[in-house]
């Protein structure tokens, strides 16, 4: 069933001439106008076309607008509301996800009797839906373009409808002329237009047909409308294999046909007869033949073999289209529309041969790009560091990503499992620079942390102690300290980094560790120098400088500042260390100058958090936790210092390794974790669009206020569970494989106990009993063999070091025992919290056994180690949100909120 439209088609066609495809009179309604693609494309289309979009729809967003240079476009929940508000349109544009396309088209047809055309931009629409769309449109007498197309455009009318023909600068490609374009490829629609200009041909109507099984406005209809178009003297068509749309065409004007895709025939498998009937005869070779017959030519046109007739030519390379067209048109004395614009020869815009002896054909010199790109390239050369486009960063992150299947998070594309094998000092920086430190940078970070960790005489430790005294958990204690580390205290270091970058950025300095770099060529003004100079000798700065020497660490910036021959402030040293670490990534445009500038603040925050976790009484003028300041500065690593702060003692190798693995594992759980949400909210509320105003210490407090006994204390529950199982045993060394304990019997005993408790709870009707801490992560349940990949990783890591952990071993036996006793239906897995508990308890066991550590101290230790790890991931999220986010972008729209009674 179809309405009879124009011509004698055996189906409905409404377009009589190409002029009618995209006119100035068309009025448009865009479905899903605020979607990602439409919100970028529609404003350009609207402005280019003189404001032809009357409204758009986006469920739940009525009242919002799409901002465009030609004025705001109103948004409604649905089409009916827009019509009820008095808007009228004849053309629908569909940007819905594939599953919604059919229903969207149905709704457009149902509620708008004035509908004449629909452009479907969406790709991957099911054939099933296309079939039904075809039938609906045929019944209602509507022309459909697409799906999977870039829409239609008209260079004469200066209108484009639907997709992004001509990109963000339609005027560059849609040059008025006499050639109509029809293309199966959206991109080639405008690429062809741009190529045509090199021979002086402009365009009339351009149709991106799409390349789905159903092409609703296909070549037969195009050929008909071309005949009737008074403006078009000829057409270029680009087609690919598949379908009989090009068979038996009747062109009345010259046409250059480009057929590409012979290679696809190689990929096909033998198919059944239906495939043979419907598919095998429509490959590229067949289509070339159809066009050759239509044009009366017997070969493919190439510049060397220019076979044309007055009816047309067939090419297989789009670069040959312009010349073929000129030759075809010359046969009927038709001249190009304008003087040739540009040429298609090879012009490299960027290049580097790396000093290789390349043949001349490869060794092409870089040429100045066409405007406006040449200006952009010049600006790029001047740009220091990376620039990020801003967007709403609610629930989004540019630095971390958790794989929902494995639960493994990647930070800067590096798995936290890898982070766990790196030194803590390297992880601190990788979170911000995206790159791990070399030995030199590690040495500098160790000095930066050691130089700022001892808070003797600093109000930070007084605040922390007061908070501790009041019975607060470690997160609140550390937050109190950080509240004292506001922007004023770090201002000169941040400006210092800016100044060093400014001074050196055009100096040719490639490696900030370069001992041979001549710093005497760098001229520094008195105002600039004043940023670095202390009024009187700063002992902290002196000690840090001495430590840098003692460790043999190199830094061009330290060398340069020393050359000022004035006493330096500790912030100056921190600035120089930060600039050294940031230099490579900044010059490689891996990080932004915002990140480089913030680095001293992050380092100071790291140091203060580690320091404030030890009681104030342990911060002395000459020592920290009993270790002389000089020794810390000159020799200790951040890992060792953090362990010292937490445990009050120097770590042995095994403990230090376990400690670093733990902090690595705890680094991040992606932007959805509560801690990340806390710090992102804190950045968002300060307004990242003015990055200098974001209080990074407050953002860190935001992270810490979003941790607690549930989020951060999970390791503690496991410790208590394990301690309960082992406190009555004779275990002294948790790392001794010959512990003499029958772990299987212990596991069986507990499994039985658990089964009994479960049974009793069931009988008593008191519901389910609690889960066992450290096992059964919900994501991995219902599998016969059940391993948390993170647990497997740790297990292998430590067994490779011959490092035994009796608690971990017990956990593994417990999950089997629980299954075998019938307490659980599946073998549960030991989850990452279980692993953490086992590692932590192993570290703390000697003191717990000796009775010098009570349960509260155990909990504080478990919580603090979580904070150490997570501060790294949250620093990354904070910095990322400052760089990419928008002001107040973590808000939840009112429409998404729930009211609960």
């Amino acid at each position: 069933m179809y309405q009879q439209g124009v011509g004698d088609f055996k189906y409905f066609v409404g377009i009589h001439t190409l002029e009618q495809i995209a006119t100035r009179e068309d009025r448009i309604c865009v479905l899903n106008i605020l979607g990602g693609e439409s919100s970028a494309v529609s404003p350009v289309s609207h402005a280019f076309s003189g404001g032809n979009i009357v409204f758009g729809t986006s469920p739940g967003k009525k009242g919002q607008v799409l901002k465009t240079a030609a004025g705001d476009v109103p948004v409604y929940n649905n089409v009916r509301e827009g019509l009820a508000d008095g808007h009228r349109f004849n053309t629908g544009v569909v940007y819905l996800p594939p599953s919604g396309v059919r229903d969207g088209v149905a709704e457009l047809i149902r509620v708008n009797p004035a509908l004449k055309k629909v452009v479907i931009v969406t790709e991957k629409v099911a054939v099933h839906d296309a079939r039904e769309i075809r039938a609906m449109a045929q019944q209602a007498g509507i022309d459909i373009f697409g799906a999977n197309c870039l829409g239609v455009a008209d260079a004469w009318n200066r209108v484009r409808i639907g997709g992004a023909l001509g990109g963000d600068a339609p005027d560059e490609s849609l040059l008025r002329g006499s050639i109509a374009v029809y293309s199966n490829s959206g991109n080639f629609t405008t690429t062809i237009a741009q190529y045509l200009a090199t021979e002086g041909w402009g365009t009339t109507t351009s149709v991106s047909s799409g390349k789905d099984v159903y092409i609703h406005f296909a070549l037969p209809e195009f050929a008909y409308a071309l005949s009737n178009d008074r403006r078009s003297k000829a057409a270029v068509v680009y087609v690919e294999p598949g379908g009989y749309y090009e068979h038996n065409l009747n062109f009345t004007k010259p046409v250059v046909a480009c057929v590409v895709g012979r290679w696809k025939a190689k990929l096909t498998r033998a198919v059944g007869h239906a495939g043979a009937l419907g598919g095998d005869g429509d490959d590229a070779a067949a289509k070339e033949q159809w066009f050759q017959e239509a044009f009366g030519v017997d070969e493919i046109f190439t510049p060397d073999n220019p076979v044309v007739s007055a009816r047309g030519a067939v090419v297989t390379n789009i670069a040959h289209i312009p010349l073929a067209l000129t030759r075809v048109m010359a046969l009927s004395n038709q001249q190009p529309d304008f003087a040739p614009k540009g040429d298609l020869s090879l012009k490299p815009w960027f290049g580097d041969s790396r000093g290789l002896s390349l043949p001349a054909e490869l060794n092409l010199p870089v040429q100045e790009a066409i405007a406006p790109y040449s200006k952009q390239i010049a600006a790029l050369d001047q740009q220091t560091g990376r620039h990020f486009p801003r967007r709403a960063m609610k629930d989004a992150s540019g630095v971390s990503q958790m794989d929902p299947k494995t639960q493994i998070t990647r930070l800067h594309n590096q798995s936290i499992l890898d982070s766990s094998t790196r030194p803590l000092e390297s992880n601190l920086c990788q979170a911000l620079t995206g790159e791990h430190n070399g030995e030199n940078d590690n040495a500098l970070v160790n000095v930066a942390i050691a130089g700022n960790m001892n808070l003797h005489g600093d109000i930070m430790i007084q605040a922390a102690d007061a908070a501790r005294e009041a019975g607060n958990a470690p997160n609140v204690v550390l937050s109190a300290a950080l509240a004292m580390l506001g922007p004023n205290r770090i201002d000169s270091a941040r400006k210092g980094v800016d100044t060093l970058v400014e001074l050196f950025v055009r100096s040719g300095l490639e490696d900030a560790r370069d001992e041979d770099f001549d710093v005497s060529v760098i001229a520094i003004s008195d105002t600039q120098a004043a940023l670095f100079i202390a009024e009187e000798t700063d002992p902290r700065a002196e000690a840090m400088l001495a430590a840098i020497d003692a460790r043999g660490a190199r830094s061009v910036f330290i060398r340069f500042l020393k050359g000022l021959e004035r006493p330096l402030s500790s912030n100056a040293v921190l600035a120089a260390i930060s600039a050294t670490i940031a230099w490579g990534p900044l010059m490689r445009k891996r990080i932004s100058s915002i990140t480089a500038r913030s680095l001293p603040w992050y380092l100071k925050i790291y140091a203060s958090l580690i320091g404030a976790s030890a009681d104030g009484s342990l911060h002395r003028s000459d020592s920290y936790c009993g270790v002389p300041n000089d020794e810390l500065l000159n020799r200790w690593t951040v890992g060792e210092m953090a362990y010292l702060s937490l445990m009050g003692e120097q770590a042995d190798d095994a403990s230090l390794y376990a400690f670093q693995v733990l902090t690595g594992l705890l680094t991040s759980n992606g932007p959805g974790s509560i801690s990340a949400q806390g710090c992102k909210g804190a950045v968002s509320s300060d307004g990242p669009e003015t990055p200098e105003r974001v209080q990074i210490n407050k953002a860190m407090i935001g992270f810490m206020s979003h941790t607690g006994f549930s989020h951060g204390g999970a390791g503690y529950e496991g410790i208590i569970f394990l301690a309960d199982r082992f406190k009555h045993t004779t275990l002294t060394d948790a790392g001794e494989a010959n512990h003499g304990l029958d772990l299987i019997a212990m596991a069986d005993a507990y499994a039985e106990e658990y089964s009994r408790a479960k049974e009793e709870a069931k009988e008593a009707g008191t519901g389910r009993i609690g889960v066992i801490a450290g096992i059964n992560h919900p994501v991995f349940k219902d599998k016969p063999v059940n391993h948390d990949p993170r647990e497997t990783f740790i297990s292998e890591l430590f067994s490779g070091r011959d490092d035994y952990n009796v608690f971990h071993d017990f956990y593994k036996k417990l999950v089997t025992a629980l299954f075998q006793s019938g307490a659980t239906r599946n073998v549960f897995c030991v989850n990452i919290d279980g692993v953490i508990s086992a590692m932590l308890l192993k570290m703390l066991w000697p003191r717990f056994r000796a009775g010098t550590l009570d349960e509260q101290a155990l909990e504080a230790a478990a919580f603090t180690i979580f904070l150490y790890g997570r501060m790294i991931g949250c620093a990354a999220e904070i910095d990322d949100h400052i760089n990419r986010g928008k002001n107040m972008d973590t808000r939840t729209p009112a429409s998404k909120l729930e009211v609960v009674s």
Partner: protein, 424 residues
Amino acid sequence: MNITGMLHGSKLLNYVGFPTSEVLGPEASEDDIKGMIERHGSVFIKPLFKGGVGKKGKSGLIGRASDLKTALSEKERLYFAVHRHGNVTAKAQGVTFEGAVPAEHEVYFSISDSTRYRAPTITITHKGGVDIEELDPSEIIEVPFEALTGLKAFVIANALSDIGAPKEIVSPLVQYLPKLWELFHHYGMTTLELNPIRMMPGAGGRLVPVACDFKCGFDRDDPRWQRLNLPNQLFAADYSDFEQEINQLRTYQGQSDVYVINDKGTVLAPTFGGGANSAVTEALGDRAIISSDFGGNPPYQKMHDVARISFKHWLKQTNVLFVIGGKSNNTDIETTFRAMADALRDYFIQQGPVPLYVVIGRGGPNLIRGMGAFKDTLDALGVPYRMFGFDSAMSEVVNYALAADEWMRNGGREQVAQKLGLAV
């Protein structure tokens, strides 16, 4: 995504109540086979291919046996049979045994979408069981029908009348064939073909159509096929490991269509846009490792994953990394280039450097920022490169990439390796 053969076909047909021949899988015991021979007089033995392979009969890959011994020897012959078509070979993994259905009439029937009629269309003939392309056009008919009303009895009745089908088969076919529309339309199929349908005498002599072979193709953009709960591995043979890994990233935003063209190729060309893909793959010929369309404005993470997977599989053998597309209308060049450059850097860090020559041709939004990001990365990695804007013809850029590959093949790769400090 195709299925051929009765092993799975009979299950699908049972969903809509269409009669089928009896079928046993490769695990059938000798007793089972013997029983089947006793019930049906003889059995057909057909190799079992994953995915879709047609025209087995023509290739001599169908056996028939009326005793157990022959059946077992045919099983042995066909169990790992190889089927070749052009460049593509498929290897059987087992056989099916199908009970013979006695019949006077064999019918061919298919439903697919016709681009001539732009509607779902049936093809039917009562002279089925042979290659229908060889039949006289008057004996076969194609009939389009309305998708919204579906395949109705009158469509079948009219079609059979037009080709002069024997009257005894008309009524049963009119009764049964419309059921196939349910299977075709509601489970995401693009093609459904039964050949032959044998018209078996039933109770009272009335003929019953029995499907004796089955082929269908599914639309991978249509989730309806998942309602059938087919085992995933059924389609595994359709794709290489690389293709499968990339396919897992299929979402509606951003194309991710890939094919392996030559697993010994040396030009790795992530292309953007269907047109560019077609044009570039054609021009690169056997030098191309893959053919791809990564356009459609993929978000960063998807592009990064696509690049990471492509590099993991192919970078080691690559001479020229060739990133190519036209002047994009919508795809953000900065996002896609940064993602690829980051993936390349990650590869170099994790797997070590690879001697490469990088050639890029592109246009579109944020072009210079995107090229800048790639440039910074390539400079850091020490790899030679040239980047062309959209004012250089794509075909010329392809020729440049081919010339770079030629140079790399003839000593250039060693030179680049030396520059990168790699042992030659």
